[in-house]
């Protein structure tokens, strides 16, 4: 029969849906895995002969200054993670107790600083904390202080900036876990005679622990590779590993040693993840509550130890129970703390607004008068305009590529039951976990050899790499709730595969796909690390231009640029929120 001969062609993913993941895998293989591998090899190779050597590692071991830098990096990363958890936990708890409407509104106040460029955040803190900065001016003007206090170029400044930068990540990681905790469990414990402290420490806290651990892990490993905050808010004593890597590559052109440092950073990250996985399992990282019934993974002895500690904590805090009101609606102190925390997150960013409109040519606060001169300066500067346009172009291209590649990969994994799903899933998220500085250095080494440095293509590839995990997660989440029987229904009603994609699947996934594209756009628009290495000297992106300017001199033009960047990000964020409803 001729009809059956025509239709004997492959139908309905007979190659297996995993083929769709290939484009993303190819990109990751060439521009992620390969450069990382090269970097590790560089660290154990003699640059002249190519022979295996341990001399670079030996040099590290023999140089005390590098030991100090490693120590400082771990210390700052650890302190940052600790403060983020300590300060973020109550805020997340406060948010989780709200009804979903208010929660999504209030979460915006955490999302806004989360998506605000690290450069803008750091710039804001420089204005606030400087010797003649906003805080010191206020304190000396009001006579509270005689001389300005040293608030930055020291560890204090770095920790303030880092905690401010990372706390939104911590809160946003803990919140979904807290949202999934059944409130009736605490009530049930109450009916069995548990006091307030016992209910919290013995019931609620252990259930929220996976979220706390995930938040701790993410803030710690992100802080390990951080350089913007210590570069601007720290002194020489706060130089971190990532800054050292940049120096080794850009100023000393010592690839072998940069490779050693990068390998160390990846090793530290992997150890942190390994420890986390040992106790909590990586599934809790995906932002959802752990799939298992919350059973901790550790040994029985460890569990017993943990429970002992929790009981002691409950006992220690029990004297404070009577200060807490019995009426659950009157949580004055708690709300005041949450308000302070939100102000800490949002207010520093807002300080750039008055300064962008200042009439003075310095960043004095409060501004002596208001004008639009700095916006004029920005919009009439060919350098700034070129950088802005380039950033837009690269961000658009990145949004397109990352959404297509990440979306296809998410589709592939949603439709496949292969045993490769697990490893592929991990690989798709890897660019989010491996420190950006390591990815950037690896990319730089590769792209320098194939002539992609200082090209838009190079930038788009680098940014796509970084944005793919976000697109993959966002589209994967909407696919999870997609009803595949709709495709079958459309098929029985006479629709072909393309028609189904166009008329059924894409319209239903539209919200998720557009959000993914917007996330990718913002990721690229804000991206500095890759841009530092790849964007090249003359043609820069907006963040790179800001970075260069911030090193030269703080000026109100930077405030004007920050305001523009903030507005763009805010508009995109609000658009995304609207779509996800």
């Amino acid at each position: 029969m001729s009809a059956s001969a025509v239709v004997s062609a492959p139908r309905r993913f007979q190659f297996g849906p995993l083929w769709l993941v290939l484009p993303a895998l190819a990109l990751l293989a060439v521009f992620f895995i390969f450069p990382l591998g090269r970097l590790f090899v560089l660290g154990v190779q003699d640059p002249g002969t190519g022979a295996l050597t341990t001399e670079h590692y030996a040099r590290l071991a023999d140089t005390p200054v590098y030991w100090r830098i490693l120590g400082i990096t771990f210390r700052i990363a650890f302190l940052t993670a600790a403060f983020c958890l300590l300060l973020g936990y109550p805020l997340a708890l406060w948010l989780s107790k709200m009804d979903s409407r208010r929660q999504s509104l209030m979460t915006l106040l955490v999302l806004l600083p989360f998506w605000t460029s690290y450069l803008v955040k750091t710039f804001a803190w420089m204005i606030l904390l400087g010797n003649r900065g906003v805080l010191n001016s206020l304190l000396t003007d009001t006579g509270l202080l005689e001389r300005p206090m040293r608030l930055m170029y020291n560890e204090l400044g770095v920790i303030i900036g880092m905690v401010h930068a990372m706390m939104p990540l911590a809160v946003l990681t803990m919140l979904p876990v807290m949202n999934s905790i059944d409130n009736r469990l605490s009530l049930a414990a109450g009916t069995m005679g548990a006091s307030r402290s016992q209910r919290f420490w013995l019931i609620y806290f252990p259930l929220s622990a996976p979220g706390v651990a995930a938040a701790g892990l993410l803030t710690f490993i992100t802080s390990l590779g951080f350089f913007i905050v210590p570069a601007f808010l720290g002194g020489r004593g706060q130089t971190m590993l990532a800054q050292t890597i940049i120096t080794q590559v850009q100023e000393l052109v010592n690839w072998s040693f940069a490779a050693v440092l990068a390998s160390l950073m990846v090793a530290a990250t992997l150890v942190a993840i390994w420890i986390y996985n040992k106790f909590f399992g990586l599934s809790a990282l995906s932002g959802q509550a752990p799939k298992v019934d919350g059973t901790p993974r550790g040994s029985a002895a460890l569990r017993a130890c943990g429970q002992r500690v929790l009981k002691d904590l409950a006992w220690l805090s029990s004297p404070f129970d009577r200060f807490a009101s019995q009426d659950p609606s009157a949580k004055g102190g708690f709300s005041i703390y949450a308000l302070v925390a939100v102000i800490f997150l949002v207010a520093p960013i807002l300080v750039v607004f008055p300064l962008a409109f200042t009439s003075a040519s310095s960043l004095q606060f409060p501004p002596p008068g208001y004008s639009l001169r700095w916006f004029e300066q920005y919009f009439s500067s060919p350098v700034w305009l070129a950088a802005t346009l380039r950033s837009f172009g690269v961000a658009f291209a990145t949004a397109f590529c990352a959404t297509v590649l990440g979306g296809l990969a998410a589709l592939a994994l949603a439709r496949s039951q292969s045993r490769w799903n697990g490893p592929i899933f991990a690989l798709m998220l890897a660019p989010m976990v491996v420190p950006r500085i390591v990815i950037a250095v690896g990319l730089f080494y590769l792209m320098a050899q194939i002539g992609l440095v200082a090209t838009n293509t190079g930038l788009v590839i680098g940014h796509t790499l970084l944005a793919i995990p976000y697109c993959f997660i966002t589209i994967g989440a909407v696919l999870k709730s997609y009803d595949w029987r709709l495709n079958q229904a459309a098929e029985t009603l006479g629709a072909g595969r393309l028609t189904i994609l166009r008329r059924i699947t894409l319209p239903l996934l539209r919200g998720g796909v557009i959000s993914a594209a917007l996330f990718a756009f913002v990721t690229s628009f804000d991206e500095l690390t890759v841009a530092i290495f790849i964007s090249g000297g003359l043609k820069t992106t907006l963040p790179k231009q800001m970075w260069d300017d911030m090193f030269l001199q703080l000026n109100p033009t930077l405030a004007a640029v920050s305001v523009v960047v903030l507005l763009i990000v805010t508009v995109i964020l609000l658009a995304t929120r609207k779509l996800q409803k």
Partner: protein, 360 residues
């Protein structure tokens, strides 16, 4: 018969489905006539949905052929079959209105928009949903969604409609209403309907023929009265309607009549077993065929047992009798009759030999 039934008939030839070592459907052959209402009835895992999916083309058969109207359709793409499929959970497109959902199959067939409009309106009127054309599916009740799914299927006038437990998600009253509704639409449109359900009552109410399935194979296929009156297997006898079962060994058979020896006596009945040579058989008597009292003559068989329960269910009273340790019988009795025995009594019951069936 086979040659005459070619026009519009759907013929399955040894259709089977295996997933690795797991068999979802043993090779199955069967012919579905044009305009017939055939029900695939069986418990979950019996292969009925697999069979339906292979007819629709959503699942590829491992072996066998599917022939429609004389053409080999085994590997014809789903969207080229033009069969309607009503899903268990309706699978209405949530981003389209009722009218858009119903218009979808017509759009796929590139009908002129004016005709499309009249067809949609007409079909919605048929299922009494013309008021709801501009609502979205989630704004409708379960029964209304069900009718949208039906309309979306009827609107393009498919030759064959497949329904996969379409009433499974509805409550009992609505389900019974929709059964009659579907029966009415079937008569009106004259479409072939293949209907999957695990509800034997639904199957009896709606079908021209019932195909009883169990353990990935067809147990028996026939008109409802045929299956109820002459079951071939113990499964068919107990899955459809209530049966009293006395198991034993076949001692003789003569044409249509066989004799069975059980721990409670030797009885005879009509030999309807699918496998005529089997000796491991059961005697089946429907509860309504049993009467109280000893057998009044040679045309009857009987047993005695102890009455363990009396259940009043309105139209009748059910008597539960225990024979030995693991056999029980049920019979129906007029609740207004005054001659009811008491619980614990030894009671004799009898039935006409012509009402008994011997099955495997």
């Amino acid at each position: 018969m086979a040659a005459a039934s070619q026009q519009g008939a759907l013929v399955l030839e040894g259709l089977s489905k295996r997933y690795g070592t797991f068999t979802a459907l043993e090779p199955t052959s069967l012919t579905i006539e044009d305009g017939e209402f055939l029900t695939l009835l069986g418990p979950s895992g019996s292969g009925k949905t697999t069979l339906l999916q292979m007819i629709s083309g959503l699942t590829d058969p491992s072996e066998g052929r599917l022939i429609f109207n004389g053409e080999d359709w085994t590997h014809r793409p789903v969207n080229a079959r033009g069969m309607g499929l009503v899903f268990q959970h309706y699978a209405l497109f949530p981003h389209m209105t009722v009218a858009e959902n119903v218009a979808f199959p017509l759009e796929m067939r590139k009908l002129p928009s004016a005709e499309m409009k009249t067809r949609v309106e007409e079909t919605l009127r048929k299922v009494q949903l013309d008021q709801f054309a501009h609502r979205f599916p989630k704004e409708l009740s379960g029964g209304q969604q069900q009718r949208v799914a039906l309309a979306r299927c009827l609107v393009f006038r498919p030759k064959v409609i497949l329904m996969d437990e379409p009433l499974g998600a509805l409550d009992k009253a609505l389900r019974e209403h929709m059964q009659l509704e579907i029966r009415r639409l079937h008569k009106e449109y004259g479409t072939t309907i293949i209907y999957v359900t695990h509800d034997q009552e639904e199957a009896l109410v709606m079908s021209d023929r019932i195909c009883v399935m169990n353990h990935a194979r067809v147990e028996q296929i026939g008109a409802p009265s045929q299956i109820y009156g002459n079951p071939e297997t113990l499964f068919a006898a107990t899955f459809i309607g209530h049966s009293n079962v006395l198991s034993g060994e076949k001692v003789s058979s003569d044409g249509d009549v066989a004799t069975i020896r059980t721990p409670f006596g030797t009885f005879s009945g009509k030999h309807t077993a699918r496998d005529r040579s089997a000796t491991d058989v059961s005697l089946i008597i429907r509860p309504e065929q049993m009467r109280l009292g000893s057998a009044p003559g040679d045309a009857f068989d009987g047993v005695t047992g102890r009455l363990t329960d009396l259940i009043y269910v309105g139209a009748e009273t059910r008597l539960l009798l225990t024979l030995g340790s693991d056999t029980s019988l049920t019979l129906r009795h007029d609740p207004s009759a005054g001659d009811l025995p008491s619980i614990g009594d030894e009671v004799a019951v009898h039935w006409p030999k012509t009402a008994a069936r011997i099955v495997t």
